[in-house]
């Protein structure tokens, strides 16, 4: 057992998966000698050598596009983009090829690849380094979109992503990279299925649904509801954005009758809108109040001096949860 943070947990998983399957290779800018800008791939070049870990030229399109070609030709590439704000140059390789190749060729060619992308605010970074655009990927057919919220789940979901027969976009909440440590049993190969949400706090009166870097604030808001108001909130960690586990969400809201969705991405056409629509379709008659969203606003992410106004906080979640309970 070891107490690992998310960076160490992801590093451990990459190492385990590379040892397990020689088809798994890593590529990206600065992932080799430098060990990645967040040090997630530290030591892997030394461990697995230059035929498994590749520092590439600076070109997101070519990093993802060549990963698609490698996946078609029998490898299991895991590529890293440095920040989600630079993923757009590579987006079309996912949209035009990775998400389509299985369908386009009626299963003759498939794209088992993982694109690892640090995302989200809260690290006092320059423009383009703090945004959350998971909707782009979740909106794209043929891609799976996963966002872990802690070291254990990051390990279990990344192992599933590497083994998945289809392309997985794996967003890593960089605000939580080193914020949380969890006990990880290195001797067990724990995997968690892609496509399943998890109830991380049992409750009866309201359901709070969040993912990624929003989990700590959401759990704190649930604690506040209990301490201040005596309200027992259920909290769901979505974990997989697409394909979405609507059963777990619906089962919870059927019971509580109230739901608040929390994400740091902009509200318009965001994941919250999708969750809200699905809940209305499935448990309309169980709802006691409108489903509310606590999200980033539909503006460019403010620079870091004012990003706290933009990012959902435990207080914002608490306020909206109270309004939902009082409705």
């Amino acid at each position: 057992m070891a107490r690992l943070n998310m960076v160490q947990a992801i590093n451990l998983t990459l190492s385990e998966e590379m040892a397990r399957d020689e088809r798994v290779i890593l590529l990206g800018q600065d992932v080799g000698v430098n060990g990645g800008v967040f040090r997630v791939t530290e030591g892997l070049l030394e461990k697995f050598g230059e035929q498994r870990v590749f520092d590439t030229p600076l070109a997101e399109s070519a990093i993802i596009g060549s990963s698609v070609g490698m996946a078609i030709n029998g490898l299991r590439p895991v590529c890293e983009l440095q920040f989600s704000g630079f993923s757009y140059q590579g987006f079309y390789a996912l949209e035009q090829h990775a998400g389509r190749m299985r369908n386009r060729t009626r299963g003759r060619f498939t794209c088992p690849l993982v694109v690892r992308v640090p995302y989200g605010g809260g690290i006092r970074a320059l423009e383009h380094h703090s945004e959350s655009r998971e909707t782009y990927y979740a909106h794209t057919p043929g891609l799976k979109m996963v966002i872990p919220s802690g070291p254990k789940k990051a390990r279990a979901l990344l192992a599933s992503a590497v083994r998945d027969p289809d392309p997985v976009v794996f967003f890593e909440p960089k605000a939580l990279y080193r914020a949380i440590r969890e006990e990880i049993d290195e001797s067990s190969k724990e995997v968690f299925p892609i496509g399943e949400a998890e109830v991380v706090r049992k409750g009866e009166q309201i359901t709070l649904i969040a993912y990624g870097a929003m989990m700590p604030a959401t759990l704190k808001a649930a604690d506040l509801l209990e301490q201040e108001d005596g309200v027992n909130a259920e909290v769901i960690d979505l974990l997989t954005i697409s394909p979405m586990d609507e059963e777990t969400l619906a089962n919870s809201v059927q019971k509580t009758g109230r739901a608040v969705v929390i994400h740091e991405a902009p509200r318009n056409c965001g994941v919250g809108a999708e969750i809200s629509a699905r809940l209305v379709e499935k448990v309309f008659l169980n709802l006691e109040a409108p489903i509310r969203r606590v999200t980033g606003f539909d503006i460019q992410m403010p620079y870091f001096s004012r990003e706290n106004l933009y990012l959902p906080s435990k207080e914002r979640i608490l306020k909206v949860a109270r309004e939902t309970l009082a409705f």
């Binding site: 290779i25 035929q51 590749f54 590439t56 030229p57 070109a59 399109s61 070519a62 596009g65 060549s66 990963s67 698609v68 070609g69 490698m70 996946a71 078609i72 030709n73 029998g74 490898l75 590439p77 079309y92 390789a93 035009q96 090829h97 190749m101 299985r102 369908n103 386009r104 060729t105 009626r106 299963g107 003759r108 060619f109 498939t110 057919p141 043929g142 799976k144 998945d164 027969p165 289809d166 496509g195 394909p243 979405m244 586990d245 609507e246 059963e247």
Partner: protein, 367 residues
């Protein structure tokens, strides 16, 4: 600190072996066996006949918008002839003759252009990517294929086709750069047919040649008469040998001309003169190959006509096969998005199935 000259690796030759009148430069003749010459010729005839038939079918409303290939047969076919079957091709979309040589079925194109995904289910024995509609993106996929081959220590080579317009896209340059940095076994074959839809190559690039763009990446390059199958084969063979022996990528620029529309929705009279078109008709790759084979005593008009008759019924058979294809399971549109259909997608599949039942009863109700 004087200025000094920086040495650049530049060697660029234009290669032409077979001219318009069918005369061959015997020093450069790649000495293709007679049997293969005839097979190549028959493949060109088949591609031409099939292409023209598909355009007629489109005009009759029996196929959707399609991309005809007339005039570019030698460029694609000569290059594909230089490959082993275990090699890869990453096509653009105008390489019909090359695809047929590789083992693609006529029915695939008919299915594809009548809107059936089944058309791009590449036969298992053929190592080719499907046709690639987003311009230049296949160059990066080709890099990935070649990179995987190198990592797996296989000796396969990837031949990637694209047009002159693709060389303006960032992907082409990223692909060239990656291939060169990692010394990957890729042959980039640009079919410069002088127009990207309506845009002449002079508006596409200010470079004198497309081949010279390889110089920036320290990559071998050559320019070739794309309507000369002996030349396209020769330069590709050299590039394939270089790639297979670890010498890295090559950029080939084959100068050719599309003796047809960009797509069946295009009207070339808006941007090309009939004089120019007639001049290129005289450079038709099939005419000159026929003359060459005639001079060698391998073919005559009557044998060609006999082949054309055979080809015509071969094409008719393919049309019949494709048109008799029935969509037995239309709900399978859901089945190739992921390996395992997720629950929420399964529900959408059921929703469509229910709607189809509703539509049937609705129609019956009206009747």
């Amino acid at each position: 600190m004087p200025k000094r000259k920086v040495a650049l690796n530049t060697k660029l030759e234009f290669v032409s072996i077979l001219d318009e009148s069918g005369r061959v430069d015997s020093k450069l003749d790649p000495a293709i066996p007679d049997e293969d010459l005839l097979k190549l010729y028959r493949t060109m005839l088949l591609a031409r006949e099939f292409d023209e038939r598909m355009v007629r079918l489109q005009r009759q409303g029996r196929l959707g918008t399609l991309v005809p290939c007339r005039g570019q047969e030698a460029a694609a076919l000569g290059s594909c002839y230089a490959l082993k079957s275990s090699d890869w091709v990453a096509p653009y979309i105008r390489e019909l003759a090359g695809c047929l040589w590789r083992g693609w079925q006529l029915e695939q194109f008919l299915m594809f252009y009548s809107g059936h995904e089944e058309g791009m289910k590449i036969p298992d024995a053929v190592n080719d990517l499907p046709l690639c509609i987003p311009v230049a993106t296949q160059t990066i996929l080709a890099v990935g294929l070649a990179w995987a081959a190198k990592i797996k220590r296989e000796d396969s080579v990837v031949l990637c086709f694209f047009g002159d317009g693709a060389t303006s896209e960032g992907d082409f340059h990223e692909a060239a750069n990656f291939a060169s940095v990692f010394k990957l076994p890729v042959v980039f074959a640009c079919h410069n047919n002088l127009y990207a839809l309506s845009i002449p190559v002079s508006r596409q690039t200010n470079s004198k040649t497309i081949a010279q763009k390889a110089v920036a990446y320290d990559m071998a390059c050559s320019q070739v008469d794309g309507n000369d199958i002996l030349a396209t084969y020769s330069v590709t063979r050299e590039a394939v040998e270089r790639a297979r022996s670890g010498g890295g990528p090559t950029l080939i620029e084959a100068i050719t001309y599309r003796l047809t529309y960009h797509t069946t929705a295009d009207d070339p009279s808006r941007y090309r003169t009939t004089e120019e078109e007639s001049e290129w008709e005289r450079k038709d790759p099939i005419l000159r190959f026929h003359k060459y084979l005639g001079h060698k005593g391998l073919i005559d008009d009557s044998r060609r006509d006999q082949w054309l008759e055979e080809i015509s019924s071969e094409v008719q058979q393919a049309v019949d096969n494709a048109e008799s294809f029935s969509q037995k399971n239309t709900l399978d549109i859901f089945d190739y998005t992921f390996d395992q259909i997720p629950p929420s997608l399964r529900k959408q599949r059921e929703e469509l199935a229910e709607f189809m039942e509703f539509a049937k009863s609705f129609e019956r109700g009206k009747a």
